[in-house]
Symmetry: C2
Subunit: 336 residues, 2 copies
């Protein structure tokens, strides 16, 4: 992993973890690179630039940290699998949104068209499960497939709610739970779901056996999404890599608008269909003017605190907890 | 399973297998129905009609037959998983082709739009692996993810080759191997990949341990695809559920055209871009006039014979082999 390319909070965690974490993060990068090469020109041409564009690799880091320094190759494979599912979902999201840029680089759909992008997403997705097929456990397959089902349901919910300015905050949070938090949760649990068939999920799938890590993953996932949605309103584009108001243009109603419409009645009457870039930015300004953004940020900070407290109930040792707390802080700091 | 809705060869196999096979096929249908209901209105609205439209359920039947009458619940889950991957790939294919009809009913993309269809495909796909997470083995996850990777690579290959009238027969067969035969192969092997961590694939994934069943699945998969490609040329639409020349309109060059262009030089000069329905049908007639269709059908029949001979090298008992031979014959008979 090229450290100069990763954001400061991640670097901070890498430094605090001594040598084992950066070495394993590099092993995950290496596996991702090899996967692209293994499928030859077909995948390399389309997915290579997406892979190379990097990203925060927050999810694999959560896998490796919750696995701890004593974990073996299976943790690296699980971390790779989680990142592949995340990448697959980004590639498919970009197909749906016809997004031109992701992390400042052309998306697969912009580069290669909808057809190839759809297949590339399917391929990355399949490869994720192939990673678990090598030395994963049944519990890991259950966790990752459950998170993937949630991702797709979240996507369906987002399409169902699209352009509906009246959706409730509750519904918004359910959607964030499905689209974002479940994969974070999965990242925190998967390495501990056993390398030999053990599962951290109860036999009926009804109750996670590690509630501390489950809450930790879920809450930082929600905080991450809340802050992402604030950034869509505030920009600046040169930092987020996309235009302000992109969510509005896609018809995606997020918490800032939901809270703002109660303070500025005219926002409740918005027609989001047919917006252009300029009017989307103007709506962003009106949302910001209501002062709700600080409220959303404060909610995200509360979730991060809740996440850190939940770690006390996890079976992790003090050093692992300390590093996961740094990751949690990093989720907030990236955006402050 | 409503027998009146399934094609005659499948009914023949169901009759020959006595009570256990129809009971298990019905159990697979029941699991598929429950999955759709379990995800509530979101999935039911979009995928319900696709599920209800049925299909031949050839792949689950292969799973159940190769598992044999003594197999348990795990074989039903594996059969369900294979059909879910197949359904997911159909839903995504229809997105790419913007297909209005599948099996005579509106496709998900036609009914609900590209966005929801993409997410529905992702969901069905994830649910497939969730089935294996419940009581599948590592070997099963490896087989199914390998087949899913192949499907996506086949899709990418098809897009790469699109509108290229000069592609070789070899390249066409490679594509069929990826897009169709690998999942048939997987269906024949998956139930025997152990319920407790055993794998029918060698430790390095290099050699299948059941070459007889591997060849059987592969060859009937290829035969199935060859005959499907003949049907696209011959129709009739009221039997295939789609217009003649649909492949040509999508730019998909298949074996009938590849062989025909060597007999009718003018076909080698075709420009497939911008074809309309009428000219696609006219090309179908010119392909048929060269006499290559009987050649392709004969090739498919040879593959079915090869498949049946390979069964002799499998570890299955005489009754299982007899039923699988009926399925193999059914692949040809459906189209004769």
């Amino acid at each position: 992993m090229n450290r100069s390319a990763v954001p400061p909070p991640v670097t901070m965690v890498l430094d605090a973890a001594e040598a084992w974490l950066p070495a394993r993060m590099e092993a995950v990068e290496e596996r991702l690179r090899r996967l692209v090469e293994a499928h030859g020109e077909l995948l390399a041409a389309d997915a290579g630039s997406t892979l190379a564009a990097g990203g925060k690799r927050l999810r694999p880091m959560l896998v490796l940290l919750s696995a701890g320094p004593g974990a073996g190759q299976a943790a690296i494979r699980a971390a790779t699998a989680i990142e592949l599912v995340h990448m697959a979902s980004l590639v498919h999201d970009d197909v749906l949104d016809a997004a031109p840029l992701r992390r400042g680089r052309p998306t697969v759909v912009a580069r290669s068209g909808r057809e190839r992008a759809l297949a590339v997403g399917d391929l990355l997705f399949s490869r994720a499960f192939a990673e678990l097929g090598q030395d994963g456990s049944r519990g890991q397959v259950e966790l990752l497939s459950g998170a993937s089902v949630a991702l797709a349901l979240g996507e369906l919910a987002q399409r169902r709610d699209a352009f509906d300015v009246s959706i409730s905050g509750q519904r918004y949070l359910e959607r964030c739970g499905l689209k974002t938090a479940r994969l974070f949760e999965c990242a925190c649990l998967i390495a501990r779901a056993g390398e030999d068939g053990g599962s951290s999920v109860g036999p009926g799938g009804e109750r996670p056996l590690e509630p501390g890590l489950t809450v930790f993953g879920r809450e930082i996932g929600l905080a991450f999404q809340l802050l992402d949605d604030v950034l869509d309103v505030t920009g600046p584009p040169e930092r987020t890599g996309k235009a302000r108001g992109t969510d509005l243009l896609d018809g995606t109603v997020t918490l800032p608008l939901i809270l703002a419409r109660d303070r500025d009645g005219s926002l409740a009457e918005l027609e989001l269909r047919g917006l252009d870039d300029g009017s989307a930015e103007a709506i962003c300004d009106r949302i910001a003017a209501t002062g709700v953004l600080e409220e959303v940020r404060a909610g995200a900070r509360r979730r991060v605190e809740l996440a850190k407290r939940a770690l006390g109930r996890s079976p992790l040792d003090a050093k692992q907890r300390q590093l996961l707390e740094l990751v949690a802080d990093g989720v907030v700091e990236r955006y402050s």
